[in-house]
């Protein structure tokens, strides 16, 4: 994963303590690499007053302390970062792979049947499409460091729930739009839950709190409801 030239970008004001940098290349992969490289550079550049950077798919939110630096100064840091990252050799840590057992449907995946009906395919086909893909973790999102991924090859984007759930359990495996995710912690949610993994994803007594990072690879594997309990208590860990 090497990028020698940053994608073209646009920088937007986002209040007195943040900027949004959006990458504008044709290829979404170039945009993703650009915003993650930029975030890494900003995190490590050591500039006083920068709190950090939140990269997602095509954008990065840069947060700062407006007493120590101004939005104009941070804009200059960002431009410098975009130049500097082009000079780096582009080597990044090799991605690690994670294997995620999932019980699909029933009480574990209450939206599986609706998703299948909306797509006009069988629930088995939904599971097949969801398990056959290798997913790249695009970014860590809400809640609690969720691994945000490009979704399976369904015929259509998946609409969000009209009435979001007040609570989705930890381990919920969900899809929405063209995205896929696992919920590391219980939280309200409007995504369609098609299954649940029995593995523990989030551990607040460990740093990092979640075991994967952007660029790592996930695969889902279908298990029987009867096997769920035998995995409970195990943590999600990279394949050796």
């Amino acid at each position: 994963m090497s990028v020698l030239t940053a994608a073209p970008t646009e920088i937007y004001e986002s209040g007195d303590s943040a900027l949004r940098v959006v990458a504008l290349a044709e290829a979404s992969e170039d945009n993703w690499l650009t915003v993650h490289r930029l975030a890494d550079w900003l995190e490590s550049c050591g500039a006083e007053g920068l709190h950090g950077a939140v990269p997602t798919y095509d954008s990065v939110l840069v947060e700062f302390d407006p007493v120590l630096v101004s939005a104009r100064q941070v804009r200059a840091f960002v431009k410098l970062g975009l130049l500097e990252m082009g000079r780096s050799d582009g080597s990044a840590a090799a991605p690690r792979a994670f294997d995620v057992p999932v019980v699909y449907g029933g009480e574990f995946g209450p939206d599986l049947e609706n998703v299948a009906a909306y797509q006009g395919i069988s629930t088995e086909e939904v599971i097949r499409l969801h398990t056959e893909k290798t997913y790249t973790v695009r970014c860590l999102g809400a809640p609690a460091g969720s691994p945000m991924m490009d979704g399976p090859a369904f015929p259509k984007p998946v609409p969000r729930l009209k009435d979001p759930r007040l609570s989705v359990p930890a381990g919920a495996v969900a899809v929405a739009g063209r995205q896929a995710v696992i919920a590391p912690a219980s939280a309200p949610g409007g995504w369609c839950v098609i299954g649940q993994t029995p593995l523990t994803v989030l551990n607040i007594r460990r740093e990092p709190l979640v075991p994967y990072k952007p660029g790592d690879i996930l695969r889902f594997r279908s298990i029987e409801a009867g096997e769920f309990d035998s995995y409970v208590g195990q943590e999600l860990e990279p394949r050796p």
């Binding site: 937007y12 004001e13 986002s14 209040g15 007195d16 303590s17 943040a18 949004r20 975030a39 995190e43 709190h51 950090g52 950077a53 939140v54 990269p55 997602t56 798919y57 095509d58 954008s59 990065v60 939110l61 947060e63 407006p66 007493v67 101004s70 939005a71 970014c139 860590l140 999102g141 809400a142 809640p143 609690a144 460091g145 969720s146 945000m148 984007p157 739009g177 063209r178 995205q179 590391p184 912690a185 219980s186 939280a187 989030l202 607040i204 740093e207 990092p208 709190l209 979640v210």
Partner: protein
């Protein structure tokens, strides 16, 4: 010398600090004291560092007592503060003798108060912050009988001359009431709302009871998104103003999920977020447009005030022999010989 604080009546109180600034990178909200000005002021008045753990008290009455002499400061929403039954002044350092009860009652204008204890208290940390995170289940929510370990004891501070008040620090206190003026700058997606974006500045909004540290929900005339289509999840700033439904405006505060897929209409300024931290359900909010440059200047002015306060407090505490640094009498004998 350390001691203990016993929580007698917790109300709705947590131990927090200025926030988990490393959190957003890992998908965790920054969280921390919602009214940052009042929280900083409380810690400065107690002779602490701005980011030291302190108690955030939301809406409900609170009582505690200590088993050693301590020095406290209470800021934020106006309230009735008593120590051992004596009325005491907010926004000033207050001496508390061992065994005396500190009572905070009657928060009814504004919503959140801050209680800092000289030397601060012990609290568990996650990514460098003790701020509670309700989603991952981290933090110190105070309960009846909770014991906090204080890091330092302070003998009673008495005015030796006449009976004048000891401190007259004259800090500007935030105004609180049922009509709130909140400054915002244009959000990165303001163009998606077309001409309806102006409604934000001509309408009055009412704070809904479903508001919390994650976000405030406001009822009123709503700007409408003119474009449609899927929005990729993006990092959203604290203070983002969104229109997720046809019923309410959503203003994200420090507990916000770090990514979301709604366009950002406007962003509340740092000072404006402190105003919203004190908004009670039913209060009325007006938004006023400003620029990032203006908002930055305003925020720097209020922080400069806190720096002036810090100098005054350091001077007074230095004269009284109170301080975060060890005093000569605390040093081992060998160091003095």
């Amino acid at each position: 010398m350390s001691g203990h604080i016993f929580i007698q009546q917790p109300g709705n109180a947590v131990v927090t600090d200025l926030g988990r600034f490393r959190g957003p990178r890992f998908g965790l909200p920054v969280n921390g004291a919602l009214d940052q000005y009042s929280a900083r002021a409380a810690n400065i008045l107690a002779g602490n560092l701005d980011n030291d753990p302190l108690v955030e008290i939301t809406a409900l009455d609170f009582r505690m007592k200590a088993n050693s002499d301590i020095l406290i400061a209470v800021t934020g929403a106006p309230l009735t503060l008593t120590v051992g039954g004596r009325p005491c002044t907010q926004w000033e350092p207050v001496s508390v003798r061992a065994g005396e009860t500190v009572a905070i009652r009657g928060i009814n204008r504004g919503l959140r108060a801050y209680l800092a204890i000289h030397g601060s208290v012990e609290a568990p940390m996650l990514l460098g912050s003790c701020a509670p995170d309700t989603v991952v289940g981290f933090g110190l929510q105070l309960k009846e009988g909770t014991t906090l370990l204080t890091r330092r004891s302070v003998g009673p501070v008495r005015q030796p001359y006449f009976d004048l008040p000891l401190f007259r620090l004259g800090l500007e206190r935030p105004s609180m009431g049922q009509q709130l003026m909140v400054d915002v700058t244009d959000g990165p997606d303001v163009a998606e709302f077309g001409g309806s974006a102006e409604l934000l500045f001509t309408s009055e909004y009412a704070v809904s009871g479903r508001s919390n540290h994650i976000g405030l929900r406001l009822g009123g005339e709503l700007p409408e998104r003119t474009s449609s289509g899927e929005v990729l999840s993006r990092g959203v700033p604290v203070g983002a103003v969104e229109v997720p439904s046809r019923e309410e405006l959503l203003v994200l505060h420090r507990g916000r999920g770090v990514t979301a897929g709604y366009p950002v209409l406007a962003v509340v300024t740092s000072n404006g977020l402190d105003v919203l931290a004190q908004a009670r359900p039913g209060d009325k909010v007006h938004f006023r447009k400003t620029t990032v440059a203006e908002a930055t200047s305003a925020h720097r002015r209020s922080r400069a005030q806190l720096e002036t306060l810090r100098e005054s407090v350091n001077t007074v505490f230095g004269l009284l022999g109170i301080g975060c640094r060890p005093q000569w009498q605390d040093l081992p004998v060998a160091a003095c010989s």
